[in-house]
């Protein structure tokens, strides 16, 4: 089981704390350069493509897709999350570097949406991951997604987007919820 430690957080990481003007400047800069990890977890990713390409062009707001979680600031949960994906999403989230933000798209992460009765899709995302901004819609249009990002930028700018801090503080609680539905914490040999 020692191997598991490499996959997921097993203890609370240290929180970087710094304050004053530095934090203010950091927040200001961060809000204007959000890199989104390119992981389409659900059907909402179909609207992320127009958002990040020429028609809606999120890049003019400082946002772009990056391939690896280690460079990313934002994780988009695009719609429903199956149990199998949730495990990977937690892993992706824990690989991301703080400060990091989660945006939930669509009705499904809020209360199950279309798949409230599905045996393989979770109903409430906030039990497992700290979400900063919720955008409802099925799917949210690119305009709504951009409005959500604008809200996220405001939150970051004013220092209120602290979901990642919550995750560190309440890691036990989140882990407990996660363990309720994910029994096997070893990654299967086909992806780690």
């Amino acid at each position: 089981m020692g191997k598991d430690k490499k996959y997921f957080l097993d203890e609370k990481p240290e929180k970087l704390t710094y304050g004053g003007v530095f934090r203010r400047i950091n927040d200001w800069a961060r809000a204007r350069s959000l890199w989104v990890v390119a992981y389409g977890t659900g059907c909402g990713s179909i609207e992320l493509r127009p958002t990040f390409t020429s028609r809606f062009d999120a890049e003019r707001l400082g946002m772009r897709m990056v391939a690896t979680p280690r460079q990313a600031d934002v994780l988009i949960i695009s719609g429903y999350l199956t149990v199998k994906t949730l495990k990977r999403v937690i892993r992706v989230y824990e690989q991301m570097q703080s400060p990091k933000y989660v945006v939930a798209l669509g009705a499904c992460p809020i209360n199950g949406g279309m798949y409230y009765d599905s045996y393989n899709a979770i109903n409430r995302l906030d039990l497992y991951l700290p979400v900063d901004v919720w955008i409802t819609g099925c799917m949210p249009r690119p305009e709504a997604i951009l409005a959500g990002f604008k809200r996220l930028q405001e939150l970051i700018d004013s220092g209120r987007a602290d979901g990642w801090k919550k995750y560190i503080d309440n890691l036990d609680r989140y882990r407990e919820n996660q363990k309720k539905i994910i029994k096997n914490w070893k990654m299967p040999n086909y992806n780690w």
Binding site: T41, C43, R49, T53, T85, C138
Partner: protein, 367 residues
């Protein structure tokens, strides 16, 4: 060449794979010696959920089975139920459905056309493809009230008539797309990188087509004129004039050619539909949908999606809910059986172009 084999996992969080799925490969050097597709990241159990919903409530569900091209699902399921319940739909509804299907195919192909270039690291066509597709989505929004999920085709016909002046706007967008296509060709078809990488890539033995049940552009790229629109004409396709597109290269380049010609065909078909569309009623009277019971029976209905033959196997038992709905998407065979065999011997860098060429769509594999 190294003797040691390396196990590599591509996906599910990987920008090269088509959607939320993963491919596990064994590599010797950078050559793949064994491959295995892993799916299930998007499994929501549609078939189970439909079994516990009355028929009308399944319609918001079915369109979510394939996200980029939802109308095929709606049309198929509606046609299956109509067949089992013995409902005749009005002539205009058939034509509107055909129009929606073709528009849907067109937007998917345009996005794909950019996407195949994207899989080889060319990012301009991706921006173009998705950007131009958006104009067709605008048409959908105007017609159906939804950009992605239309929930427009219902048993008995379609939910609303075409809005005023819709035909002209469709033709305008078609003209726009047609004007743009030479520019696409210039940066994709005539690109040395694309030609060099796709020609001879993913060579499919011809005997696999019938044996594995390959369909759609994949089969047509191998010279087999399999097209459900021609073989089992449905909706208004019997009244449309078109030829099945085939290429004979059996490789990714031929698939690209087939799909490129499909774009022209779709534009042509849309123009034909708008020209020939009859006036009249668009929704046949249905029984009260809240209590709609369909007599026992089973049927298999299929239609041509951009990826190939898309089928719904519907079993009813006389109650107000389906006994079983099995959605059989072409990606199930293309993405698992074919892909696993096709990747063997290929270069690791070609995984993404091959997957995009086969147009594997994970949600329709696992439903």
């Amino acid at each position: 060449m190294s003797k040691e084999e390396v196990r590599l996992f591509i996906g599910p969080q990987h920008p090269g794979v088509t959607g939320n799925m993963s491919v596990e490969v064994l590599l010797r050097g950078d050559t793949i010696t064994w491959a295995r597709t892993h799916i299930g990241y998007l499994h929501r159990g549609f078939e189970k959920l439909m079994e516990r919903k009355i028929f009308i409530k399944s319609f918001p569900l079915v369109c979510r089975i394939c996200v980029p091209e939802p109308d095929t699902n709606e049309e198929n399921f509606a046609r299956g139920l109509e067949e089992l319940a013995g409902i005749e739909i009005p002539e205009r509804a058939k034509w509107i459905r055909t129009l929606v299907l073709e528009l849907s195919r067109l937007q998917m192909f345009i996005m794909w056309y950019g996407g195949i270039a994207g899989s080889m690291g060319l990012s301009t066509p991706v921006q173009w493809g998705i950007g131009d597709r958006d104009y067709i989505l605008d048409l959908f929004e105007e017609l159906t009230g939804g950009r992605i999920y239309h929930i427009y085709i219902m048993p008995g016909g379609v939910r609303k008539d075409l809005p005023e002046g819709f035909e002209e706007r469709v033709l305008k967008v078609m003209d726009m797309v047609e004007r743009r296509l030479p520019e696409y060709d210039e940066i994709i078809m005539e690109n040395a990188v694309v030609q060099k990488r796709l020609k001879g890539l993913a060579k499919i033995p011809k005997e696999w087509v019938d044996e594995m049940g390959l369909t759609g552009p994949v089969a047509r790229a191998c010279g087999f004129p399999y097209d459900v629109r021609k073989d089992h004409p449905y909706e208004a396709y019997p009244h449309l004039d078109f030829d099945v597109i085939t290429e004979d290269g059996c490789d990714a380049w031929s698939m690209l050619l087939v799909r490129r010609r499909e774009i022209d065909l779709s534009i042509d078909l849309i123009r034909q539909i708008i020209e020939k569309m009859p006036r009249g009623e668009f929704l046949a009277p249905l029984p009260n949908v809240l209590y709609w019971k369909i007599p026992p029976g089973e049927t298999y209905v299929k239609s041509e999606s951009t990826r190939g033959e898309y089928g719904f196997y519907v079993v009813t038992d006389g109650s107000d809910k389906p006994r079983r709905v099995h959605v059989n998407g072409p990606s199930f065979v293309h993405g698992i059986t074919l892909l696993e065999r096709l990747l063997v011997g290929q270069n690791i860098a070609d995984v993404a172009p091959i997957m995009v060429s086969l147009q594997t769509c994970p949600p329709e594999m696992e439903r």
